[in-house]
């Protein structure tokens, strides 16, 4: 199994933004940001790139691909 984890919560806190503020910047609802942070929802490539653009970081620094035991 392959999992996608992210540092959205940490980066948002670093910028001192609320979930609603970040949501507004990338054009999604607060609930969507909350779901991404919890790992319940995997964003689309477009939304992922938008988040990277907002944080001004490359994709690798925001999203991390984690491989399960069977994949290693």
């Amino acid at each position: 199994m392959v999992f996608l984890s992210n540092r959205v919560k940490e980066l948002r806190a670093r910028h001192d933004w609320t979930q609603a503020q970040l949501g507004e910047k990338v054009g999604v609802t607060r609930q969507t940001i909350a779901s991404i942070e919890k790992g319940d929802y995997v964003p689309s490539l477009l939304l992922g790139l938008q988040l990277c653009d907002v944080f001004q970081l490359p994709m690798d620094d925001v999203f991390l691909l984690e491989k399960g035991e069977s994949e290693k």
Binding site: V28, T29, Q31, T32, S35, Y41, P43, S44
Partner: protein, 155 residues
């Protein structure tokens, strides 16, 4: 969440009141059937308009709510009070998944309802609205499944 519960309750109430509004129409067709199959010259058909009252009241409430929240409600008047959240990609994905599941429930609901229709001869005299209730069970099941799935959008 308030919007979710309002929409769910109103949808279920609309289906229930629609079923009640069918009662006088069944009485009307029963009267017509009696007229056709009997040799009497005189006939009378009694229709109780009270059965239309629930759907009339609901229609007024829903109409007022639709006009009141016209800016917020982006969905069509014809599917009101159903909600199809689509403000962002997550909501669209959940709504699409809920619609898919609701569609698949037809596969189970229709044969069950068709089976239930086989018992109609037992109720034809005492419960003439039985076939309408059985048919309305299909959207009732679909709506319940759909709302259970889209619930997490509103959490």
């Amino acid at each position: 969440m308030k919007r979710f519960w309002f929409s769910l309750i109103m949808s279920l109430c609309t289906i229930s009141s629609f079923a009640l509004a069918m009662v006088p129409l069944i009485q009307l067709t029963n009267g017509l059937a009696d007229l056709i199959y009997s040799d009497t010259d005189n006939f009378s058909i009694e229709i109780k308009l009270i059965w239309f009252l629930p759907i009339l009241v609901l229609g007024i409430i829903e109409g007022m709510d639709h006009l009141w929240n016209k800016r917020k409600n982006k969905s069509s008047f014809w599917i009101y009070p159903l909600v199809t959240p689509s403000d962002d990609e997550r909501e669209r994905a959940i709504t699409a998944n809920a619609s898919h599941t609701a569609f698949l429930t037809i596969w189970a609901a229709v044969p069950i309802c068709a089976g239930a229709m086989c018992f109609y001869p037992l109720f034809v005299e005492i419960f003439p609205i039985y076939p309408i209730l059985v048919v309305l069970m299909i959207p009732l099941i679909q709506i319940t499944v759909y709302y259970l799935k889209i619930r997490r959008i509103f959490l």
